[in-house]
């Protein structure tokens, strides 16, 4: 297990800054969530971690070694693996073949896969609960099975750090919980972009909230996921309660003020916005609509 540290990471598309000065510290073995609305820069930040994007400023460090300057591409790929959103094209790969791609950084390009590799591939499939499914065509799996195969491919890299970009998208609730429980049980450091704030509250040790390309809050889910912050960043009203099973924070959302709570009316949103001083288009429009109502 390794420490993953992003130190002042900035990414630009041409001259337009996409994210600026993002610092995230993931202690070894922790599950860290990256939250924020669409377009807030979560995926961009994650891409710098698995080297799909080069940061224009700052550095990504695994155990204090820069993944761009101090590690080769293959060395970095033996430490950091990803389950990304991008679908790719399966061209009729079997499950085994997809998972075996995870062994790529462990070999020279022309080397053959050995007995160790086959054992690692089988072990990864076993971990995700897909024993014996190796010869099935990847394209014929269900969405949940596909996501597990992609997780197995990442595990076949034998990484110390696992990056997940919205791993629960399009999955049913049982599969969502199953997948995150599975990841939670692995001995790796996890940095995951999540859309579902309640899943984040249930599974993350710490969360970072991004808004307009910057980290605006960090801490434990209990500290961070306040109705005020959610109003500011997501532009929705939230009522916070306690999950009866886990004792963790649980949020209930609405686009209109909730009758059972007084602390997150439109005025509060306006106040927070002034205090925060961030550029926001959607929330502002929404709060104006709300104010016009009788």
């Amino acid at each position: 297990m390794s420490r993953l540290r992003l130190d002042g990471v900035g990414v630009r598309a041409g001259v337009v800054p996409l994210v600026a000065d993002v610092s995230i510290d993931c202690a070894p073995g922790t599950f860290v969530g990256l939250l924020g609305p669409n377009g807030s820069g979560k995926s961009t930040v994650l891409k710098t971690v698995y080297r799909a994007l080069a940061p224009a400023a700052g550095a990504v460090l695994v155990d204090e070694r820069d993944v761009r300057r101090e590690l080769t591409a293959r060395q970095a790929a033996r430490r950091v693996a990803v389950v990304a959103q991008e679908p790719g094209h399966d061209f009729d790969f079997t499950v085994d073949e997809v998972v075996a791609a995870g062994r790529t950084p462990h070999h020279r390009p022309w080397a053959r896969l050995g007995a160790t590799d086959r054992a690692v591939v089988a072990g990864a499939l076993n971990t995700v609960g897909l024993d014996g499914h190796g010869s099935r065509p990847f394209g014929e799996l269900s969405g949940g099975e596909k996501q597990r195969v992609l997780l197995a491919r990442a595990l076949a890299q034998q990484p110390a750090v696992l990056v997940l970009d919205e791993p629960t998208n399009h999955l049913d609730i049982g599969t969502q919980l199953g997948l995150l429980t599975l990841v939670r049980g692995l001995r790796v450091t996890v940095l995951a972009a999540l859309h579902d704030l309640n899943l984040a509250a249930a599974f993350c040790d710490r969360v970072h909230v991004m808004h307009d390309g910057a980290v605006v809050a960090r801490g434990t889910p209990d500290e961070v996921l306040t109705p005020e912050l959610i109003a500011t960043v997501f532009g929705v009203f939230a009522h916070r309660t306690v999950h009866p099973g886990s004792g963790r924070a649980h949020l209930i959302f609405a686009t209109d003020p909730l009758p059972c709570t007084t602390s997150e009316g439109p005025d509060e949103i306006t106040d927070t916005r002034r205090a925060g001083g961030h550029r926001r288009r959607r929330p502002r429009r929404r709060s104006r609509e709300l104010r016009r109502r009788p």
């Binding site: 009729d92 997809v98 791609a101 390009p109 022309w110 897909l130 014996g132 099975e145 099973g245 886990s246």
Partner: protein, 366 residues
Amino acid sequence: MPDTTVLTPVRAHTTTVAAPRAGRRRPPFGVVLAGLIVATPAVLVVAIGTGAVWVPPARVWSVVVDHLGGAPGGDALADPIVWQVRAPRVLMAYVVGAALAVAGAVLQAVVRNPLADPYVLGVSAGAGLAAVAVLTIGGLAGAGLAATVGVSGAAFAGALVTLALVLALGRRQGRLDPQRLLLAGVALSYLFQAGTTYLQLRVSTNQLAAVLFWLLGTVAGADWAELGLPAALVVACVAWLMGQGRQLNALVLGDDVASSLGVAVHRVRVHLLLVASLLTAVVIGIAGGVGFVGLIAPHSVRLLVGADHRRLLPAAALLGGVFLVLADLLGRVVAQPLELPLGVVTAAAGVPFFLVLLRRAGRGVA
């Protein structure tokens, strides 16, 4: 489905999935490869023996063995037919087929599109325009041009110029973008085809036959001198591409994933494009625009051995070679004394072959 009570993250994960279903039935890779390796010399010998004069396989074999052993001329009657006329032609068909199949498989992976073929980046259209220009431009200038560079040289140059244009147009933010490459290639193809059509309309009827034959591909009239350099280039390119199987697998899974697997996506893609297109340009130079092999051979092989490029590329090379030798053989014999262009035979014989494979694969899935 997962146990729905797993709300506490620390609890052990309990999952039950549907019992493993049997995967698609594929013949073992070793059997397919061995079959293709055994088929290769057999098909070559029969193809060399067949023609206006039938030479039995045993006699073909002994002539070839004599030449390889350094003591040619033992069979004065069969020797010129087998060694001087037919062997270079059949070998050229093999080289062309193998090259196109490998180039097609690589380009399908690089642009991540199963409809891609070796000509998808427009190299055949550019080569065609250059070759037809040399074939049809009359007068002294045309004759001089044809004599100095030849149709092959012109086609090769046309292919390289097109490739350079496509690479220049296919960039976005300094990186090659697969979608943009495809669009640039298709757009340039239409432009060059328009030019080729214009030239065709202007030529006389007897010139038109030569032009059509070239555009549809032919290995007629091949000789040893013409075969040497292209064959060496093809062998070198194919060997290099076969070493890139794992990079190709990673690229197919997506650029982001490939990056996370330690593949230098941009650099690898450029190298693969350059080598696959060089391969295509060489082949177009010697045989014209042989269609269909580069599209169908990779897909046929995928149905047989799967999509792993470390298996796919060698098998595609063997199958593409054998297929084109058979196509050339058919083109020589079905309409004797007339010869059919390769492109006509590859389509007419290849489509049924492919459809049979597709149907069989479809049954295996259910």
